[in-house]
Symmetry: C2
Subunit: 394 residues, 2 copies
């Protein structure tokens, strides 16, 4: 017998991995300036601090951290994660917290709990590539919601709910990936109200929230939810370290939380206890506020350098001016093709992600996503000069 | 709107978590002797060693361990895991290795890659509870294969393949959970041949292999597979520490490995790098052989104590005599009900898992699974006296 593509589950056959996988291979080239990724800066990572905490928690908890643990999570981490999230205007107690492998797994187990093949899921357009892939793997019908500079357009979302009867809406409310846009206060309230009115679960994916460089924090969508329709998904990847794979979802609805726990049980039994304990200690020792202040100070300068670099871009280019996060979104003058610009840019040793990949429905070939967290300021300036030149010459 | 059970995906509605979850709640009672779990002994866990290794690898690799990593896994760990598995008669190179969150995740992403709702999956009967739950979550049609004291009965398996055309067969070949039985050499060869003849992927779940207390190791099913039909799933949970959640699958078929990687990408992005690096260092420093020798020496004595305790059981009780692993399987004389024995035993402060839970098709109420790794020898002896008494009095 021969193993063929037809042996795969139907939903997996058309999926061949993140569209930007090939892009990332190019980034290894020496001299390449990359605005393509979404990693935190290496200068934001603290291997010595983490080693010290690992030592401490293994000394404190001993074999408990090395044994099997509960799928619901490590008790002390659930407490400190809940406290951290309450500081982010999330309405939760330790009991509501499900520790996950980054924010990624929270969405995966939520999809597993809710989605039958063909079920509609509303999402922003554009939205996070990884979420698009995850929804496709559950054979969901992706329904893109139109957005503007204040995020999801609520009236359009309501019309789509009436038309498609989705079980789930996926939203990145703060410093959105890819656009950097923040959903307005009024719309946060309105989306929470829509969820309750129509019985739609909202996956509020908010991993960039505390990377705010200007303006005031807004209440979460979840804070306006009185019936448990909003699942708030946070992650310590952008705040402490993505390599530890520690996230936390706040799930007020006990029925839904229980099904997510069951889904996680079959997926990986439980999250590693050492990693939960290290992040718990990081929070309890009060390291987070100072650390966030430091990295936000650095990221703000990097963002400013990138925004300043748009002067090298052709006239008619527009771009977002995010108050935080890791990304700036640009639209080239109509008719320009960011896919072609990408090829020329890579030849000139500068990279970004063409925006079309972030649209579930495709199109929008004149858009691009630029990341500023992974390069220092001189590199950002040099890269924007190069990129502006390449695009202007097209 | 009210959130109701009907909002869940169809495959998740009937699943309410491991059947033995309620059992485990009882185990917290003071004085309870538990033969119910499947954890390694706490004396097998080495928090100081792990803390030392965590320090070392964070010093050596620095921010690399804290950044995002590749879904395919951490390079050095893939190399050392491949070397470790080659020592277990697995035919593999570093390229074949997919690091996973314990063995659990390897099976989950394999199901995700292959299974459409309704697809048949063959499994041993009885088999691992967690695997039954995972298969049900993918809406697979579970087809139980009859077994005897040499494991899966090959002729019966072939007849079931012809009847059900399964994409996948799930087998625990060595010191099986729950029975402790080891699949014979001839049957290992024969199953590999069946896989190739009929185009069935075999998930060879082999997490107990190196917990051997007597007899000689047998070649893996995978070692007889020349076409890449067998996915070999190993785990460091029973050898180093379950709490670290480090497993490794060897997947020779590049098409299949790629789809598993894609499924894992959406599930958790990648496995935590620190955990992979710690287990990598554990292997590279040569700590494994001595550690396995020590814990196998201890487990052998615990197994012998348990086997000796069957003299307190009623006449007509039969039990397996495993050469390794963590479990002994017993059948009470016909007509006796292990579910009722369980209630009486728990009242007498001794616990086990009634065997019926391990049968996808139910029944077999006179069977029970006993674990010996979590109690010291006096406790095992005391527990077997109690349990024998409770059952004899029924």
């Amino acid at each position: 017998m021969q193993f063929t593509e037809e042996m795969f589950a139907r939903h997996m056959r058309p999926i061949n991995g993140s569209a930007i996988r090939e892009i990332f291979k190019l980034l290894a080239r020496p001299g390449m300036i990359s605005f393509a990724g979404g990693n935190p800066s290496n200068t934001a990572l603290e291997p010595k601090v983490i080693a010290g905490l690992a030592d401490e928690v293994l000394e404190k908890y001993g074999t408990t951290l090395l044994q099997y643990g509960a799928t619901d999570g490590f008790g002390p981490f659930r407490e400190s994660a809940a406290e951290f999230l309450r500081g982010s205007q999330v309405n939760c107690t330790a009991e509501d917290i499900l520790p996950t492998q980054g924010g990624t797994q929270a969405f995966d187990v939520l999809l597993k709990a809710l989605i039958d093949p063909g079920d509609a899921v509303l999402c922003e357009s554009p939205t996070f590539l990884g979420a698009i892939q995850a929804m496709r793997e559950y054979n969901a019908k992706l329904v893109p919601m139109p957005t503007d500079d204040k995020g999801v357009i609520v009236e359009a979302a309501e019309a789509l709910i009436k038309q498609h009867h989705p079980k789930l809406m996926y939203v990145i409310p703060t410093f959105q990936n890819p656009t950097g846009i923040t959903l307005s206060l009024e719309r946060r309230k309105a989306l929470a109200a829509l969820a309750a009115k129509y019985g739609v679960v909202i996956a509020e994916d908010d991993p960039y929230r505390d990377l705010r460089y200007s303006g005031d924090p807004l209440p979460t969508i979840q804070s306006f939810d009185e019936e448990g329709w909003v699942v708030y998904m946070s992650s310590f990847s952008k705040y402490v370290a993505p390599g530890l794979r520690v996230g936390a979802a706040a799930v007020k609805n006990p029925l839904l939380r229980r099904k997510m726990v069951i889904g996680k049980q079959s997926a990986d039994t439980h999250s590693p206890l050492l990693n939960q304990a290290v992040v718990d200690a990081y929070i309890r020792k009060g390291l987070m506020p100072g650390h966030l202040q430091r990295i936000c100070g650095d990221y703000k300068k990097q963002l400013d350098a990138m925004l300043g670099g748009f002067k090298y871009f052709p006239e008619g280019t527009t771009h977002t001016v995010p108050q935080g996060g890791l990304f700036v979104w640009a639209e080239l003058p109509g008719g320009m093709d960011a896919m072609k610009a990408f090829e020329a840019a890579v030849s000139a040793n500068v990279a970004f992600v063409p925006g079309t990949h972030f649209y579930p429905e495709g199109g929008h070939e004149n858009t691009l996503r630029l990341n500023f967290s992974m390069c220092d300021i001189p590199t950002i300036e040099a890269g924007m000069v190069k990129l502006g030149k390449v695009i202007s010459e097209m």
